[in-house]
């Protein structure tokens, strides 16, 4: 990366409190968290877009705004409906001009765990219940079902977004002033938490696995690897890419490498992948896909 993100902001005087209007604007912008979702950094650019109104107010020094924008493009994946919680905390740190590495560690540590909580609240509880009830109304030919679904879902969504933003921002500003007197120690502690959570993310989101079977009777290589250490491949790839990035590879180069490895690997049936394709009778393809070069036999499913 051409631009090196400084450890400290130039202007270290805490910025004035953000007003309600700016916070509310960011509540609205938080709806577009996933607008530029991608496989490399997931919600990063949408996140930055969402908190920019606040960052622009906080960092009146242009160099500081650059630094802040650059580090707010880190990998981020959190629950879209709970993101304002992370926003509030990060904004309170930015406002007090905490060190950039502290903000980065706190951000990923706060964002990671929210994914599971949000899925449990929204996709596994709220949607099944409201959709289940309203779908029955709809199947009787009544449009009231659709209207009720929209009203309930969005009322909950916006109440949560609004409340979390204001609550976590106030909480953050109170806590941050207490911690700034021990900034160096706080940065270290935040890094420990951050790196601990990244370790957890690798195991939690790492899905890359092998499809190959060899020998007779067929042995699943992935099964053997799982016996050594589950998620060994995600860990190995992460460490490999970490080494490449330390050597000066750009993220784009790493992504191209992964893309080539993925497609070539699947041409030979090495990696597990789901094409979601179906044969003429509507049956799924065994093993997720048919490799271009079939050099081993996939055992029939038990």
């Amino acid at each position: 990366m051409a631009y090196n993100i400084p450890e400290r902001y130039q202007d270290l005087t805490p910025a004035p409190q953000l007003d309600k209007k700016t916070l509310n604007k960011m509540v609205w912008m938080s709806c577009f968290l996933q607008a530029s979702f991608n496989y490399e950094r997931m919600q990063a650019a949408g996140w930055l877009w969402g908190i920019l109104p606040g960052l622009q107010k906080i960092h009146t020094n242009k160099e500081d705004l650059k630094a802040s924008m650059a580090h707010n493009l880190d990998f981020l994946n959190t629950h879209p409906f709970l993101v304002t919680f992370v926003m509030g905390i990060v904004l309170s740190l930015e406002q007090n001009k905490a060190e950039t590495s502290t903000i980065r560690s706190v951000r990923i540590s706060a964002a990671g765990p929210l994914g599971g909580i949000g899925d449990a609240i929204f996709w596994l509880t709220l949607v099944p219940i409201t959709a289940g009830l309203t779908a029955n109304i709809a199947m009787e030919g009544n449009i009231l079902g659709a209207a009720l679904f929209l009203i309930i879902f969005n009322a909950v969504q916006f109440a949560v977004r609004y409340w979390l933003m204001h609550w976590s921002y106030n909480l953050g500003t109170k806590a941050v002033t207490m911690l700034t007197s021990n900034a160096k120690e706080f940065t270290r502690a935040a890094s420990i938490l951050g790196i601990f959570v990244v370790g957890g993310l690798i195991a939690n989101y790492g899905t890359t696995s092998l499809r190959i079977y060899v020998g007779d009777p067929a042995i699943n290589i992935q099964g053997l690897l799982d016996g050594v250490l589950p998620k060994l491949i995600p860990l190995a790839i992460t460490l490999g890419i970490y080494t490449l990035i330390k050597k000066g590879w750009t993220p784009v180069k790493c992504i191209l490498l992964i893309l080539i490895c993925g497609v070539v690997g699947c041409a030979f049936g090495i990696f597990a992948g789901d094409s979601k394709a179906m044969d003429a009778d509507g049956n799924k393809i065994p093993g997720g896909y048919t490799p271009l070069v079939e050099w081993y036999e996939l055992p029939a499913e038990e």
């Binding site: 991608n38 493009l73 590495s101 959709a131 199947m139 449009i143 021990n182 790839i237 970490y242 179906m278």
Partner: protein
């Protein structure tokens, strides 16, 4: 079913908006219970659209976008299920519209391909985003976000209109195509799943130092242990954060204690940064 140009245009606009709404904005307009009645209204069969929407929504409950997984796409699925129910003159009852769902599946799968492709292409745009940030280019960041929304919207609009005219014949063709080239899509799927490791590696570069390796492995181990236990697997990252917070607070207290006692013995009051 006769489709005039205005109807086709309206379907394009609806698919464009829903293509965006599935990830951004309200994240609820695209649900079949809302989407199908709108398509029904455009094509002149409002009541049938409502019923198809309810029936499709019940199927959709079982396949929510949980944990980053992408189920077959509900938008093209919903649009095409409505189109088939109308063009085949199905009865507006829960049982009557059942067959429309099956015919719509090839389109739902293709909608998923459109999403996978967009997410892959936009990974390449992150370098551009870094550049915008380094120049404090606020508009540039906004435009990157607009760009993906536009790509998704147009892809979904085009696929929906193609489905509207192509009907079940196109569905069969799409099915053959995805069967023939399944390894390409599986390759994109596998590569897409591995790209997040680049994001993790960048984060590690920020926080990593020689003494941190143990914590990375500890977090990794903690998550593996949680995942192996079905009753706590869904709370994996939250539990990781709990343990991580305990370690971090302990380290913070120890470090400040060391600093304070070292400071008092030398007699200096500065914080030593």
């Amino acid at each position: 079913m006769e489709v005039n140009i205005i109807q086709a245009l309206l379907v394009f606009i609806v698919a464009f908006i829903m293509g965006i709404d599935q990830f951004s904005f309200l994240e609820s307009l695209y649900q079949p219970i809302v989407l199908c009645p709108i398509i029904g209204l455009i094509l002149g069969e409002f009541n049938l659209g409502i019923v198809v929407g309810g029936a499709y929504q019940l199927i959709q409950i079982g396949s929510m976008p949980i944990g980053g997984a992408q189920p077959p796409n509900a938008i093209l699925g919903g649009i095409m299920a409505t189109v088939f129910a109308i063009s085949l003159g199905m009865e507006a009852t829960a049982d009557g519209v059942g067959a429309a769902m099956g015919l719509a599946i090839p389109f739902a799968v293709f909608g998923q391909y459109a999403v996978t492709l967009t997410f892959t292409i936009m990974s390449g745009m992150m370098a551009k985003a870094d550049e915008c940030a380094a120049n404090a280019d606020v508009k540039g960041i906004r435009n990157i976000n607009y760009m993906e929304m536009a790509i998704l919207g147009v892809l979904f609009g085009v696929l929906a209109v193609a489905g509207l005219y192509g009907g079940s014949e196109l569905g069969a063709k799409l099915k053959d195509f995805s069967f023939e080239y399944s390894w390409v899509m599986a390759g994109l799927d596998a590569a897409g799943g591995a790209m997040k490791f680049v994001g993790f590696a960048i984060l590690m570069k920020v926080m990593m130092s020689a003494e941190m390796w143990g914590f990375l492995l500890a977090g990794f181990a903690m998550a593996l242990i949680c995942q192996a236990n079905a009753s706590i697997a869904s709370a994996t990252l939250l539990l990781c954060a709990f343990v991580g917070v305990a370690i971090a607070i302990y380290d913070f207290l120890m470090q400040t204690k060391i600093k304070n006692s070292a400071g008092s013995s030398v007699g200096g009051g500065s914080d030593g940064i």
